[in-house]
Amino acid sequence: MGRDPNFAADLTHPILFEDEWNRITAVVDAYDSNRPSHIAVIADPFAGQNVLIDGILRRHPDRVIHIPFFSTVKSRDFLSQIAGRKDIVVMDHCHFLATRKIGGFAMLDAFLDHISTSERLFITQWNSFTWSYLQATRHIDTFFPVTIDLPDIDSKTLKPLILSRYTDEIEFIGDVTPREEPLFSAPHRTVKLPFSNKSFTIPVPRLRQGNGGANSIHPEDAEDAAFDKIIRIADGNFGVAERLWNATFDGKMVRVADIPGIPCAVNLDINESFLLMIILSMESISTVDLAEIAGPEINLKQAIFRLTNQGLVVEEKGYFQIKPEALSCVKGYVTRNRMVW
């Protein structure tokens, strides 16, 4: 299937998730009200899933009922919005339908009851970690014949997406050694002893390599090197890559050496790990909801302090979310600890 002209013309990111877009449009075009193939779009936080949802809203403005969720759903009122002649329902952030607590699945059950008998086509978007959880515990995948997992992107995809935003030429500098560096220096480095959590700062003698620029990446390769480094640090996540780009690009040039690496040193107990996993799975969660999930066993204030202090979580207007730059680190940590399956 070729590129959908509406998708290409209307969207900010014309070539992001094109295969996935084609799959969705094929299902929409083949929609049969007797047997609707509901769609679940599953993605990590910040992965750029809104591109597909926005695409559907623009492609079928007259057919779509749009229900975006912004926080934990606590009443069935959202179901009353599904009325009228429109035959497609697009639902954002459906992971807000379930809360990981006793009795926390009532809204999800009500929603699944609804789609089981509905003739409309539901296009839903889920956090990948909540989806895995609900798949294991509630077999949610059986309600969605079409599941679309958004893949990690590579630097070849990222580069045109980013560069298409600028008309002026951007200078890419590949020097690894800053030019101001003297021949001999002793920069301080933080080192961790093996199998110990203690860090020590020690001066490490260092001789400048080359002539302060001779060991740089070839100018023609600097552009690719920059995007390769960004995508490597972002672990293929579009949103994180975008943030890294914004942090590095000063309006005129990008220096490869300035792309910030993300340290990953996580030291949490089981309660803090659990809350971290909840924040990762919900993408954005209020203190009240978090307290309900945590229960009396967990000291929420202390746990949040430690999560924030370790650079894993940020608070925005009373809602907690994973710090985008720490996403890869958090994913690795909760997976290793079997908090997510």
């Binding site: 006793i102 699945f105 294991a136 515990t137 089981i270 790990s273 066993e297 290793r336 600890n337 079997r338």
Partner: protein, 279 residues
């Protein structure tokens, strides 16, 4: 190389006595020290690595008993070579002495060593597993050449001779995996709504911070009726077997908070199940 002294006994027979010289003694000591250090360092490193390995923790510790056997067997080989540099005669003599030693009281000791080798290769359990042998339940912390050390839930260290695996059934609760099934029973008044209670226990299980659920590791909630009470039994896997008791406690506590809130009561005191007293 050790000296071989041939002396003549009163009955005229030749008695061969092997008196190792000082060099040989030092070599033997060095071999023993080196073997001990290698085992200790490797053991320490592998345990540290295993702690970082998440769900592969037990797979990593599995190597420890194998490594011990390889190192100690190699050490014994070099010691024997240092003392005897065995030819056929020496080998026959050594075998004879070895057989006699086994016959004269080291039988159990060698049975333990053979048991250790069987455990290392056949792996009925591994370091990190939760096992039950000879009425002892606990986590395996070390598989030595002679004995397996198990830490019980009340933190007692029990040494179980390795030959026990030949004589006693051995139950491994997790069979080398990090996750382990935990059975949680809740007893309710027979007049209470059992369906509601089952749903609450199910939610308590699947929302626990310790739970691990997959296609191969499902959860179940079962109901059994007794004359004076009902038993709701939840079965689910804890994500790390070390959290077995925390998992049980957390699920039970959260379930009872909700059960009480919903008006579901425990059995009347006169009909408290005998299992509770047995525990």
């Amino acid at each position: 190389m050790a000296e071989i002294n041939m002396t003549s006994a009163a009955d005229g027979s030749l008695i061969s006595s092997y008196i190792p010289d000082m060099d040989a003694v030092i070599t033997i000591v060095l071999i023993l020290v080196a073997a001990y250090l290698i085992v200790k360092v490797a053991d320490f490193l592998l345990r540290k690595i295993s702690e970082k390995a998440g769900r592969y923790r037990i797979t990593v510790t599995m190597v420890i008993p194998l490594l011990k056997i390889v190192v100690y067997v190699t050490a014994v080989y070099f010691i024997v070579k240092t003392i005897f540099d065995p030819g056929l005669t020496e080998l026959a003599l050594f075998s004879g002495l070895f057989g006699a030693a086994i016959g004269f009281g080291l039988k159990d000791f060698f049975a333990d060593i053979v048991g250790g080798i069987v455990i290392a290769f056949e792996r009925p359990y591994q370091i990190g597993d939760k096992i039950e042998v000879s009425g002892t339940y606990g986590e395996v912390t070390d598989i030595g050449l002679r004995a397996t050390r198990v830490v019980t839930p009340d933190d007692s260290v029990v040494s179980i001779p390795n030959y026990a695996i030949f004589q006693e059934p051995t139950a491994s609760q997790n069979a080398g995996k990090t996750e382990m099934m935990v059975v949680i029973d809740i007893y309710i008044d027979p007049r209470s709504d059992a369906g509601k209670a089952m749903n609450i226990l199910k939610d308590a299980l699947i929302t626990s911070k310790y739970v691990y659920i997959s296609q191969k590791r499902p959860y179940t909630v079962l109901l059994k009726d007794y004359p004076f009470y009902r038993r709701i039994r939840g079965k689910a896997y804890v994500n790390d077997l070390r959290s077995e008791f925390e998992f049980r406690s957390e699920v039970t506590r959260r379930a009872w908070v909700e059960l009480s809130r919903q008006g579901i009561l425990p059995p009347p005191p006169a009909h408290v199940p005998e299992e509770i007293f047995a525990e």
